[in-house]
Amino acid sequence: MHPLLKLVIQRLALGFLLLLVVSAVIFLGVEALPGDTAQAILGQSATPQALANLREQMGLNDPPLTRYFDWLGGVMTGDLGKSLTNGADIAQAIGQRLGNTLFLAACAAVISVPLALILGLIAARYAGKWPDKVISAITLTTISLPEFVAAYFVIYLLTQVIPLFQPVAMVFPGMSFGAKLHAVALPVIVLVMVVLAHMMRMTRAAILNVMQSAYIETAELKGVRPMQIIWRHAFPNAIAPIVSVVVLNLAYLVVGVVVVEVVFGYNALGQFLVDHVTKRDLPVVQAVGLVFAGVYIMLNILADVIAIFANPRLRHPK
């Protein structure tokens, strides 16, 4: 078997194990929350009788271990169960929300990743000169703004001052692709502002690090043009750290954007998770937690594999 294939399989198996551990941790965490699902659903209006009925109906009186393994068994067979709060099929509900999450993340990534790389290359090329300083100043400013402040700022600017977009970014099945793009424009702008700096600065730092090497000096002495040096000689050797940061940001775009979702009323997975945590809807919380963990693990495996492909020393181990 090709060592690389073996490595990928190893990583996948490890990722699966990790997912199991994560599922147990999520279960424990949710169990430790104060209050139970029945109380959370009925809220202030709970009567003792209604509480007892609801607990029994939802099987909350079973021991935690039984409930955990019941659930795990279901997941293995592709059955995530029904939401405790509104009886909706969890897999179906998550499916639609996940689609929206990935749509928003993809839109933001398509703009931010190439932009960050290009800006990083330019900043590295003109390190210490004004283009570098301008790029750094702007991206550091946008990353320093809390997301919700940036969000309110763009809402004000682009819906009130210049009414180009809509403040509420909900997307629905049946909307055309163009309409969807128009709807998510504002959250995408905010997310790009937030993730740009991190990737840009890592690109710049990684390239500058490589630029110290002797072979770069040789290239310079040969008279190769600076941009050519960066693109042909420095960038390929800087890929590993850049990819890991890019992937980290992609993962963030998928799992960490609940604040942006709330501000723009975007119907994706983060808001969905928060609602169900508040109501102690354990099966949904676990399922979403698992999806998020899965995304993280998969993206990190991807980063590893790309780094190995990019590095001959790792690609051809002795």
Binding site: L33, P34, G35, D36, Q39, A40, I41, L42, G43, Q44, S45, A46, T47, P48, Q49, A50, N53, L54, Q57, S83, T85, N86, G87, A88, A93, R97, Y152, I155, Y156, T159, Q160, P163, Q166, P167, V168, M170, F172, V262, V263, F264, G265, N267, Q271, F272, D275, H276, T278, K279, D281
Partner: protein, 528 residues
């Protein structure tokens, strides 16, 4: 007088005068209240109800855990949703009267124990079936089932027997209740085909709009129910509820015209919004209130002198001004205000009185150890600030009140109804009886002040069966006084509904029964 009346009518037609203002002005001119209401109806309706278009509401208070089952409706979005697709036996009018809907007529036996409702003929459900008395019985029965977890359980469990006789519904109560039709106007009790037993969350009712698409916590799309029985209701072809929980986004959506109306305008920005041309702010005195509750059966709150000291040491006007931004009114330590029918407005307003509070505090013999008031940001909007204001004014009266901040998470489980002194809120109810029965009767499930008073209980039961309004009002007045002077409830303020509506929306009227015209804004307004 004719000129004056013409001017008022002209102003109302243009939408420059609210219903409340219209009634106030016309009755001041010597026109009887009944006539004024009828006149307003004519004038406002003459304001050409336009048909067609799409009306969108941006609403605070929806979660992705919501369902279309009316029994489970508890937060604003499900409640408004219910009132849009559902139709009840009757509605409570903004003036506190009854409007007959699925029931055409409601009559009771002289002892108010047996009620007969005549079911309107030819009312159709969204699935094409005709509404029958059997459907109504099945609906009420479903809510009596504890497993349905219905929010209306407290209303229907007093009905001992329900049967359908042809086009009549006959309800026999276990004890007399002269307010029954008001209680049956509750939004949980939307009539469903066969009571919705097979699929309670189907969203099929007899209301003016039928559910076209429902995404919990995101939006609900409704289209006009073509065979709806009342042509005065349901003007737009399509209405939509968008769930926008974020204040800023909701306001921005209203300003940019993405939605036509929003609920819960932040008091802090309502003043700013008043300056915008396309938006009007509607302020409606409601029945909801913010409270601090003491358990009357736990030390040190089992001492009425101490309870009195605390009631006297809260600055009510300051609360209304600072916590509600002036958009509310002072409370008087009983949960009823002028928005309720049979309210006694002669009960004196309790004010801040440091000297008297100190006197009561000394008389209570309290040992001087800190009195802990628990509050959380989610107890009600501004609850933590309100608790701190309360502590400051109490400390000035020599009462060692201390605020303990609690997390929102688990507040209703671990603090409310558990700790002896905490911040909370109540929404209003349709009638006084319902409010008192829900939370102040000794045996009430939600008696969150642990208030037990035999005289109060007796009065409540007596008033419930009383058909003579004057006597009933006297009973309620006595009860209000008992609760005010002996209860565990500190009620500093009633909060108004503050809502934003775009100027192209016609047909708006203020309704104290609930927010967004008691959930009927989408079906009663039109797009001008």
């Amino acid at each position: 007088m004719k000129d004056q009346l013409d001017r008022i009518i002209a102003a109302t037609r243009k939408g420059a005068m609210s219903r409340r203002e219209f009634l106030g002005r016309t009755t001041a001119m010597g026109i009887s209240a009944g006539l004024a209401v009828a006149l307003y109806g004519k004038v406002a309706n003459a304001q050409e109800a336009k048909k067609g278009g799409v009306i969108r509401a941006g609403v605070y208070g929806g979660e992705s855990t919501n369902s279309l089952d009316p029994a489970l409706a508890a937060s604003p979005v499900p409640v408004i949703t219910c009132s849009t697709w559902g139709e009840m036996l009757c509605d409570v009018t903004p003036e506190g009267g009854l409007a007959m809907r699925i029931a055409e007529e409601a009559t009771s036996s002289p002892d108010a124990k047996e009620w007969t409702f005549k079911i309107r003929q030819g009312v159709e459900f969204h699935n094409g079936k005709t509404v029958t008395a059997e459907d109504v019985v099945a609906t009420l029965k479903r809510h009596t089932d504890e497993k349905a977890q219905s929010g209306a359980l407290g209303i229907v469990q007093g009905i001992a027997d329900m049967k359908a006789e042809g086009d009549k519904l006959v309800l026999t109560l276990s004890s007399a209740n002269s307010d029954l039709p008001y209680l049956l106007a509750d939004y949980h009790l939307a009539i469903q085909p066969n009571g919705g037993i097979d699929n309670p969350a189907e969203g099929i009712g007899a209301g003016p709009y039928k559910v076209e698409a429902f995404e919990p916590g995101v939006r609900t799309v409704f289209t006009k129910h073509a065979n709806y029985f009342d042509s005065e209701v349901g003007h737009a072809d399509q209405v939509e509820i968008l769930v926008i929980n974020d204040n800023t986004a909701r306001t921005a959506a209203l300003q940019s015209g993405q939605v036509h109306m929003i609920n819960r305008v932040d008091p802090k920005i309502s003043e700013l919004l008043k300056g915008t041309e396309a938006v009007t702010i509607k302020q409606t005195a409601g029945r909801g209130h913010f409270v601090f509750i003491m358990h009357c059966d736990k030390a040190p709150f089992d001492n009425n002198d101490l309870r009195m000291a605390l009631k006297l040491s809260i600055k009510r006007q300051e609360m209304v001004d600072k916590i509600l931004g002036g958009l509310g009114s002072m409370g008087n330590d009983f949960p009823i205000n002028a928005s309720y029918p049979l309210f006694d407005d002669t009960i004196p307003q309790r004010e801040y009185d440091a000297a008297q509070a100190e006197e009561f505090y000394k008389k209570s013999g309290h040992d001087g150890s800190p009195i802990i008031l628990r509050s959380a940001p989610g107890a009600f909007p501004g609850a933590v600030d309100a608790a701190n204001l309360f502590a400051a004014s109490a400390n000035a009266a020599g009462i060692p009140l201390q605020v303990k901040l609690e997390p929102d998470d688990g507040y209703w489980t671990n603090v409310w109804n558990v700790e002896p002194f905490c911040a909370s809120y109540w929404g209003g109810r349709a009638v006084q009886d319902q409010m008192y029965t829900t939370a102040y009767l000794s045996t009430a499930d939600w008696n969150d002040t642990k208030f037990k008073n035999q005289e109060f209980d007796d009065l409540l039961v007596a008033a419930r069966g009383e058909l003579d309004e004057a006597k009933k009002k006297a009973d309620y007045s006595r009860m209000a006084n008992i609760l005010r002077d002996e209860g565990g409830l500190i009620l500093p303020m009633f909060n108004d509904f503050v809502e934003g509506v775009r100027t192209d929306i016609g047909g708006w009227f203020d309704d104290p029964n609930g927010e967004l015209m008691n959930g009927r804004a989408l079906s009663r307004c039109w797009l001008g």
